[in-house]
Amino acid sequence: MKLTEEEKKTALIITRQILKEFNGNRGNLIPVLQQVQNKLGYVPPVAMEEMAAHFDIPAVDVYGVLTFYNQFRLTPPGKNQVKICMGTACHMRGAHTIQEAWERRLNIKVGETTEDREFSLERVACVGCCTMAPVVVINEQVHGKVTPTRVDGLLFSYQLDKQQTKEGGTE
């Protein structure tokens, strides 16, 4: 997924702003990553390089910390955020198959965002409705007993929704 120049610029400005509040102690790296992630929703390469320079560490080390934790994203979240539950119950009920179905359908891997920015894919731990396993949460809506065919259906209904709002908008 490509970032626009505009996005890179904002990312740089925001990262610099956040870094101003921290001294060069490398122990501050994680709080900085968290704040950038909170502000932008993700941490792009330009931000990583800026942090590396600030803390005087190799950029690849920032990347190492960032990829170690699940809470950080490398790409901007999509308009629709698909969260696949990987909790114990969902895992036992085939969450992996569901994950594969989403990945195949959207043609992206977990943690990524589709080229058109419509969908992003994430794995989460138990979302608290194990009886409905396997569970997928799209934006705030919970979908239970998901099967690979349901994945197709869900995608279709989101595309339909989108079309309707588009048509509605032109009227």
Partner: protein, 213 residues
Amino acid sequence: MEVTITIDGKQIKARKGTMLLWAALDNGIYIPHLCAAREETESPPASCRLCFVEVEGYPAPVTACTLPVAEGMVVNTSSERVNRLVAAGFELIMSNHRLDCKNCPANGNCELQRIAKARKLRLKPKNLPVLHRDLPVDDSAENIVYDPSKCVLCGRCIRACRNHGQSVVGFARRGFERVVTTCGDVPLGESGCDSCGECVKACPVGAMSLKKK
């Protein structure tokens, strides 16, 4: 200051504070090891778990790369407990190492082969299933080929790269997904790597190799 210690019944002298692993190696006593580096005196990573030895007075085997020598230390480099630990550690490493000795550039000069020979271990795991990560081979750099499926995550190339004044490679991700990679996983050829080849020299296996001319 020098101290005298006994390893496998042999008396050796070593500088006080040296890690036991180096004292043994310097005196021709082989202890399997992958992740240790001489220059790392502060806190060795001690992540490969292959350098276990038995030391008198210690209730359990200890990693030789983290134990500074002290006067009168009596060490046994293999005991049943040690062998069990080393065998298990080795098998874990081999369970996701792509074994292809015949076509491997490190064949005959591979630390894994050496360990297997020294400790009479099999290269192919017999208790654990083999799980390959099937990561693509990166041959984008001018004269380095990097095959992550052969990497044992010892971290030697990372150190070598940094000692050379570069910081192209590092560790990323976690658990089974852990890899040595560049920032943003860009191919080596686009990472600013100048193909100095230090990582190749440092790699104990065949993960980093020189391109065949």
